[in-house]
Amino acid sequence: MDYEALDFYEVDSLLSDEERMVRDMVRDWVDEEVIPNIENACREGIFPDEWRVALGEMGVLGAPLKGYDCPGLSYTAYGVICRELERGDSGLRSFASVQGSLAMYPIWDFGSEEQKMHYLPKMASGEWIGCFGLTEPDYGSNPGDMITKAEEMEDHYILNGAKMWITNGTMADLAVVWAKLDGVIRGFIVEKNDPGFSAPEMKGKHSLKASVTSELVFQDCKIPKDRILPGVKGLRGPFSCLNNARFGISWGAIGAAQACFYSAKDYALSRIQFDHPIASYQLVQNKLSWMLREITKAQLLAYHLGQKKDDGKWIPEHISLAKMNNVDIALEIARVARDIHGANGILDEYPVMRHMANLESVKTYEGTHDIHNLILGRHITGIQSFTREI
């Protein structure tokens, strides 16, 4: 049966023709190449290399970036791409988010002209994979206190420290690493063969199994002087990247929720208990209509945020609200969808348990659910509540 994306309010009719064509391109690819292979990829714990190649060939990596052979699409189109990819799997969308928003974007915005010309075309084509090193074992929600540091030598920098939970790390050709230089957070481009750099993979995940997650280890890692990102100092650098990635997640989560709704509806209509399809029972209908309600609201939120992003009239708090809400409802929808599937819901014959497990990560990464609440709390009251003297 062909996938029919839930779009109760026809929000996609507000997209431009170009955005719809991009949607169809990605949706068809996900149908043909991702859905048939995703469970195997998860079982083996690999990100299939064909997917990297195809994303590069379709030209969707770094979607909203302009110039340097980047796609130059709207932010709304970027959101649509994330949604369609995450309908397949959150790990797949994570790959694209990290490549585009977390690795290409900082080079595009804060890099030197030489860095842009050198890295961006090959990253847009998927030839080079990037990753983003911010989080450390002891500094997750509080990246400002990171301990990875850079020292300036005569003709090079020396990096020391470790990053953790780095999507794409082991497979990456380059890492955008945030480290303190004389106490100030700066961005550095580290290439995979730089001396003193290693990226061991983290194993044993119950979530995002088709995505590579790694540590980045720097032991007197020596990089040339021209690898510092000249255009930014302080937390603004990594936070600008996260804003874009979180924007993509607010759309992506809808894709996962749509996939769960679609599977739950199909299952409820075909599963017979007490002589009737379970879709005919009020409790199940109540669950389905709740899903429809939340997905529709999330779609409107994401679309409006996309317009604001394209118009340049947005603040980070707008993105926090959408990321937090849309991932939250997607996770709850995945759980309810699993419930509707009964025992069958735990099998990999259905996508719901996979999405559910993935979304647990998505709820936590790129600013946890709670941290986004605190960002909004600060916006409302003017009082930050992240830290205090105890």
């Binding site: 023709d17 391109m25 379709m58 030209g59 979607a63």
Partner: protein, 251 residues
């Protein structure tokens, strides 16, 4: 070389079809797509264009919605887009006449199309256009190439496959081939957006009001399938055998 690909937009093969007042209700079709065999013709046209440095002209006839299919064709590489704009459902002969006129007006040397459209399955467009153009016509081909002033096509024969060589203006109708269909990419989509679609009215091509010759009387949904029967246990075997022999007539 000017290469024409004739495209038809049809209800997607997964779309639900409803009948109202004895006709397919087009408004109820949720998704329209390029007819699948036409996709193979388009792919072959793109390959020929790349090999010969030719100009690929995508032509369709139909209402406003069919323009999207031309833009989709441009996204994978069609150079020129021609839309014969007609809201009415025309009969096969009328469509063939319109297409043949456009082909004549554009100095086209080779015409590619699907062997049949996925909606009517009539299979008359290719041969009909060839007849009007007085062109060579090879049907059910899986690939076509151009070398030394002739077209070489491959089609099934009762011994396997056969290669057919044609010269002069030639029409090829495509079956599902081995070639993988290319996907669009973002760059193609952005270029396609800028492509101008040339729109022509049937009157400009000389189609008069009086040329309706075939009239579609009514359309019906397929008959409902009778529900299946389930038999369980060894004891039911004689019943099953008897039913297969006497009712289904399969053994």
């Amino acid at each position: 070389m000017n290469i024409a690909v004739l495209l038809k937009q049809v209800p997607d093969t997964t779309a639900k079809i409803t009948i109202s007042n004895g006709k397919v209700d087009e408004n109820s079709v949720s998704k329209w797509s390029m007819s699948p065999y036409d996709e193979y013709a388009l792919e072959s046209g793109l390959k020929m264009k790349e090999a010969t440095g030719g100009n690929l002209i995508a032509i369709t006839c139909g209402p406003e919605r069919t323009k999207k299919m031309l833009t989709d064709a441009a996204a994978v590489g069609a150079d020129t887009l021609i839309h014969i704009s007609e809201d009415k459902v025309l009969d096969s002969t009328q469509v063939q006449n319109l297409l043949a006129t456009v082909i004549n007006n554009n100095e086209i040397e080779v015409v590619l199309c699907g062997k049949q459209a996925a909606d009517t399955n009539a299979g008359s467009t290719g041969p009909g256009v060839a007849e009007i153009l007085d062109a060579a016509c090879v049907t059910m081909v899986s690939e076509v190439s151009f070398s030394e002033n002739s077209f070489i096509s491959v089609r099934p024969s009762n011994t396997g496959t056969e290669k057919v060589s044609t010269s002069g203006i030639s029409v090829f109708t495509f079956d599902k081939g081995l070639s993988e269909l290319r996907r669009p990419n973002v760059r193609g989509i952005m270029m396609a957006k800028k492509k101008v679609i040339e729109t022509i009215k049937p009157e400009e091509l000389g189609l008069g009001e009086d040329s309706d010759r075939i009239i579609l009387q009514t359309q019906d949904s397929p008959a409902e399938k009778e529900p299946g029967q389930i038999f369980e246990g060894v004891g039911e075997i004689p019943t099953i055998v008897s039913k297969l022999r006497n009712e289904a007539n399969v053994i």
